[in-house]
Point group: C2
Chain length 327, copies 2
Amino acid sequence: MPDTPVTMANIREAHERIRASIHRTPILTSSSLDADSGGRLYFKCENFQRAGVFKARGAFNAVLSLTDAEASQGVVTSSSGNQAAALSLAARSRGIPAFIAMPKVALQSKVSAVRRYAGNIVWVEAVGNIPTSEEYDATAAGIRARTGASPVHPYNDTRTIAGQGTCALEFLGDQPDLDVLLVPVGGGGLLAGSAIAGKALKSSMRVIGCEPEMADDARQSLLAHRIIPQSDPRTIADGLRTSLGDLTFPLIARFADDIVTVSEAAIVRAMRLVWETLKVLIEPSSAVPMAAIAEGKVSLEGKCVGVVISGGNVDLDRLPWKPSESA
Amino acid sequence: MPDTPVTMANIREAHERIRASIHRTPILTSSSLDADSGGRLYFKCENFQRAGVFKARGAFNAVLSLTDAEASQGVVTSSSGNQAAALSLAARSRGIPAFIAMPKVALQSKVSAVRRYAGNIVWVEAVGNIPTSEEYDATAAGIRARTGASPVHPYNDTRTIAGQGTCALEFLGDQPDLDVLLVPVGGGGLLAGSAIAGKALKSSMRVIGCEPEMADDARQSLLAHRIIPQSDPRTIADGLRTSLGDLTFPLIARFADDIVTVSEAAIVRAMRLVWETLKVLIEPSSAVPMAAIAEGKVSLEGKCVGVVISGGNVDLDRLPWKPSESA
């Protein structure tokens, strides 16, 4: 088997590096969801992770991997959302600056999260409302030139992928009976890390990526055997609008078993179902695996099914259901 | 010390009786809530309890305390909400019928919860929209006469109080450092049980009941040294509108240290704060202790503070904040 850029050994090292800085998140179950699905469902609640999202794992791993000399100049990332908050938190914990290239249209709640963790926001100069990746890159390059900060990519980065893989390491440690592991896929850092760890720890377990039909670049890319970038992803699952990267794509192609897609309506229904049944706030991206279960996209009769609840950062002023829906 | 109708021994027996039937709920923490409050806060998440509420503890204890002959005729309670669902669940688990005297104006979500657990709803005949306690009692008496079902009171019942006390037993077992325990108070079953267990396990720990200013019968009753029934409780905390009973009042007077009250606005703010920070759904009644913390009603600088999150049964179509509030 040829070498890969991220190995199980890297994931174990990452866990040793970050375990004192992150939460070992709990696993929840629900007898009523089990009865409805025919499987035994286990939900690994990364919405309870620091900064409310699994991305704290990769961010802490990257920040804590830097030498003191590198760290002293800070870190930089481009993000409108969860990565911005997670990297700001990790940097503050090490006492170093984080520079975040953010779009001017970022939600106020996301801006507040970065400021809470003392991140330095640099607004991306853009021609349109939503910056292009070139405009993001130009802003981040300017920050690097000015500060010497180390870039930390939200997913296409070996340290990030190894950090995200620690979630599956904990999950299988606490619940070794899993037959299937369902993971949302956007840029692919969480799925790549989960698939590497999952297959290393339990080769018989199926690792399945779940993505919105409206942002199905991972499925298309795997079918085409090359990266098909996402264009115009109109999905409510804002964490899953990004495309696979040149590091995550081959890892997913090699280690993940399948990609399934779900409708927007199923995502909203699944999000509400999880809120009402498990009593936890999950963001739309985190509802995608539950939507795949509800829509019968995954065979799970009699199986132990692990679901990664990736994050819980939702805007309570913008809930995706109408008050009349079930009143 | 004179005997009391509910002792620590009763609470330990209750825990042995129900532990296989209930969840040992997790304790959550938040470094940002700690930083804001000056204390170290521990949240015992009974919103993750079966039926979504601590009342499953008392309901299971009552149902499992019955002899086989008693049990065969079922159980009966009067409730428009959480007790109805919790008792239905406990009865179904023992394979016996539950009869629930419910008002015709009960929320559809509460009716659905009872039906999910196969409870038998008997609508209370009432002159007005909201039945009086006499009208509830007449309906329940009719059920008892017809079926022989055993009554299980939502709070004024030794088995219920002992069951609710198991929450504090678990809490102090998992987190023995608590200096203060904050508990919402409505009818007083949870507070009475928590105070008995809390004082027995750690006499130096203060046990404080938290209630809405708009339903402050517990505070008034303690000040007056007699039960002052609640009249017209216009609080969003629907689980706390009931008055203390003749069993719960003297137990609270003897074992609890204080009662503090909070405003309606503080309850709504605290509910939202917990949702956004801890990423868990809590019902308005459960936000009352956090409101007391946020309003500075409890001294907690440098202290370990336990907060009982009593339940998570909310109607997602009727959230108590306006979309513009923080947008």
